[in-house]
Symmetry: C2
Subunit: 481 residues, 2 copies
């Protein structure tokens, strides 16, 4: 693991949480200015020219407030029980009827328990499920609306439902038999898989990765309730130090005195086109008057489809990108977003943006076809590549987030580097797809110079070669006739 990146977080757990300097400031006109579009009526350019500063506790040194955006619902949800109550609650959980979680269920427990889905306090009950499915949002008791585009639900089968009977609470058990938490005041309702899939993905075609992996094998009931987690979810895969909770990220932004945080969601290796747009975004924010914009490079760490690059390889690749200086370690935070991936395009990109509000980011970068994939049975993209950013710009509950659409970057064969695509000389640009990149790595051919930093590219070559070697050993000993 790269020390360069590790060093960003060396102090993270020893930091005391700084009380927000000025709650009043957040509701002031100055603060509100940020959310006003300045580029005419284009909702995709919701950037503003103001910066926010306040005074620190001592009243002398000016301090920049970096908890720049309130979590949804006003309070960041934290469902990990205090250590003092752990043994008591463990004893209680042991006596309850049990629900066995899959690996991906545990990823959702992780997500909910740390407040990424704030104000959600557990797996959805039917009221929340229906609002998510039909409106991509939840109405709060206060009358406000928060975005909630993916149903975050827990499925159980008939036998489990029978075992629970009329128990108000259930214990949650991990795939390895470990006691994970309690779900309280549960509500059990029907899991209409067809409807859930159709409304979430806009298709019911066979071959959707999350559907095949998670929904198809799941039970015909959903169980909602209030979650309590006995201790923070850990994976012990050498990457837990990257898994910063929304609160830890907010603390880190405070520590760095960020006055703008722009989040970049990704599940692929970082090439120089990505770097270009992230650096360009920083430049634009500085131009707008922000003094210390921080990039949250935020790879997704939960379930991904089989042909995506695995998390450990991606994290190694990302660390090389910072080591090689393509991104500036001083203004970049690399952390893992623990959510599983749905590949649900315009529906899912809202979740990706909403969860980053909770982590304290006030700018969100969105590109072409976010959370998209090829149609599983037809030769086309599953989603219109422009729908993601359009839907994001109009989504209920995301009004307070500044959406930054990005221009497409491609390899400029004249300048010999990644550059923003210029349609007036289209023929001079080369689009390097994931498939193309994979072919390069597999055949040992180098991509065009300047496509990716050498250190990062080496990580990928190593990975794809190991994959090839693995595939070779899995070949049948005798070729079929």
């Amino acid at each position: 693991m790269s020390l360069t990146i590790k060093s960003h977080f060396s102090n993270q757990f020893t930091l005391s949480f700084r009380t927000p300097v000025s709650k009043k400031l957040q509701s002031s006109n100055l603060y509100a200015l940020r959310n006003k579009p300045i580029y005419g009526t284009n909702p995709l350019l919701q950037l503003a020219m103001s910066s926010v500063s306040g005074r620190n506790d001592g009243g002398t040194k000016p301090v920049v407030k970096s908890s720049l955006i309130d979590p949804d619902g006003g309070v960041l949800v934290n469902l990990v029980v205090p250590e003092s109550e752990r043994s008591l609650k463990t004893g209680e959980a042991l006596k309850l009827p049990k629900v066995k979680l899959t690996k991906i269920d545990v990823e959702w427990v992780h997500v909910i328990s740390e407040g990424w889905a704030s104000p959600l306090k557990g797996f959805m009950r039917e009221r929340e499920y229906l609002q998510s499915l039909h409106f991509n949002s939840l109405r709060l008791e206060s009358g406000g609306v928060v975005n909630m585009s993916l149903p975050i639900v827990l499925a159980i089968d008939d036998d489990t439902k029978e075992r629970i009977e009329s128990s108000a609470d259930v214990g949650l058990v991990g795939p390895g038999g470990d006691l994970i938490g309690i779900l309280r005041s549960v509500e059990i309702y029907k899991h209409n898989k067809e409807e859930r899939i159709a409304r979430t993905w806009g298709t019911t075609a066979p071959g959707l990765p999350y559907v095949e992996e998670v929904i198809a094998p799941a039970g015909d009931w959903l169980i909602g309730g209030d979650l309590e987690v006995l201790q923070p979810i850990k994976y012990n895969d050498g990457l837990d130090h990257y898994r910063l909770s929304p609160q830890q990220l907010r603390n880190e932004f405070d520590k760095r005195q960020a006055d703008a945080v722009f989040a970049f969601q990704l599940r692929n290796p970082v090439h120089n086109g990505h770097a270009l747009l992230m650096n360009d975004t920083r430049r634009r924010l500085l131009e707008m008057g922000y003094k210390n914009p921080i990039l949250l490079l935020h790879p997704l760490g939960g379930f991904t489809k089989a042909d995506d690059v695995p998390l450990d390889v991606r994290m190694e690749q990302h660390s090389k990108v910072l080591e090689d200086g393509v991104l500036d370690p001083e203004t970049t935070i690399v952390a893992i977003f623990p959510s599983p991936m749905h590949y649900a395009g315009p529906t899912e990109v809202q979740w990706h943006a909403k969860s980053r509000i909770n982590a304290g980011a006030n700018f969100y970068i969105v590109g072409r076809d976010p959370a998209g994939m090829a149609h599983p049975t037809e030769k086309r993209d599953l989603y219109d590549p422009d729908h993601g950013k359009k839907v994001l710009s109009m989504a209920p509950g995301l009004e307070k987030l500044n959406i930054l659409p990005f221009k497409v970057a491609a390899y400029d064969t004249v300048e010999k580097k990644m550059a923003f695509f210029d349609p007036s000389r289209a023929s001079e640009f080369l689009f390097i797809s994931g498939t193309k990149m994979r072919t390069y790595a597999r055949t040992g051919e180098n991509p065009p110079n300047g496509f990716m930093c050498p250190g990062g590219w080496e990580v990928l070559v190593k990975y794809y070669r190991s994959l090839q070697a693995e595939e070779a050993t899995q070949q049948p000993a005798v070729a079929s006739v």
Copy 2:
């Protein structure tokens, strides 16, 4: 046609529109009270105890204000061009590239032009389409939100798209070649049928009536724009006098000095169970202090599936129900809602409610499985029968409407009448389905006494017998072996 019903509208076109007595009243606390739930936190019982009264123009006789609820967006849309401009606009339309409408497209033109879909001013452009599909609502420029659950779109094929080229406006031509209107500042975008179907119906199973009739044969492009209709849409089927526009209905409520209007959407014959709940609703509203609650009996008049009872038969049946005194003609208005039917359950019931806001109804009755049907390929209801009213109670933009869920009525075999179902003596109740009713009518067997008024039942028997006779003549002359 029954004179009893006709008489309700005899003066409708000569009425002058009364200026709302007190605009201020609407925004007063008294008025606001109506929308506050009084039965604890149950969102389905959003009834209130207040009544509204004001003073009339003369200042002496108290007048009840009956324009009880503002149309969505504040202003009722009316897209019929003034008669003075008709010939000019007709001349203009003649010169434009043409889009040929189907019968059902014309039904939508009718719906949009009269303001049922206010604030929608034409077929949806992509921004509106995406919001409808993903959020079941539209955000207004003012920041407010209105409900809009069904995509109201116009499809065109490749050839038509090519013919339009870069023309800003197009002429709309009916199925018979008649010039109907103009669509201005058009936007053409992709018609992803699979996604539209999946997100609207929550299934892509073959056999959805609207999909088979409308979407499957339609073109691969959608064209949105601002609509102008050259003259009011008429059907010349002897039922046009029932087709009151939202403005005409509002005028009628004013004329009757209604202080509550409760709308009942239906597409089936009225049996005594329906009548029971409509009369019971009136009783409840009177108990709450309303002085003159008016029932809007509002059968859907657009496209319905083949095995539904046709509109003309239903209208005759409804008129008998009023003639026989099962519903009180003095407090009932029967009119036709011109929308086509989607059979899209919880998604469509929002449209049914939203459009009645625009027609001036401030109470909406919702029952079991609204806008539902059997799953086209599986042996079950397509939708959870309770989802319709749950979704309706939480739908964005419908907060100002009072939702009245109804108890299930069934035939009480002891009392020999339709009554609210009492689960404590379930075995004494008989549920008479549409299929069962059809079997009665076809075989000439009478339904249990008290199921439907004799006059209404006679209409159905006549219809089903004519259907049988028709089917008989369509039998192949030689039976297949």
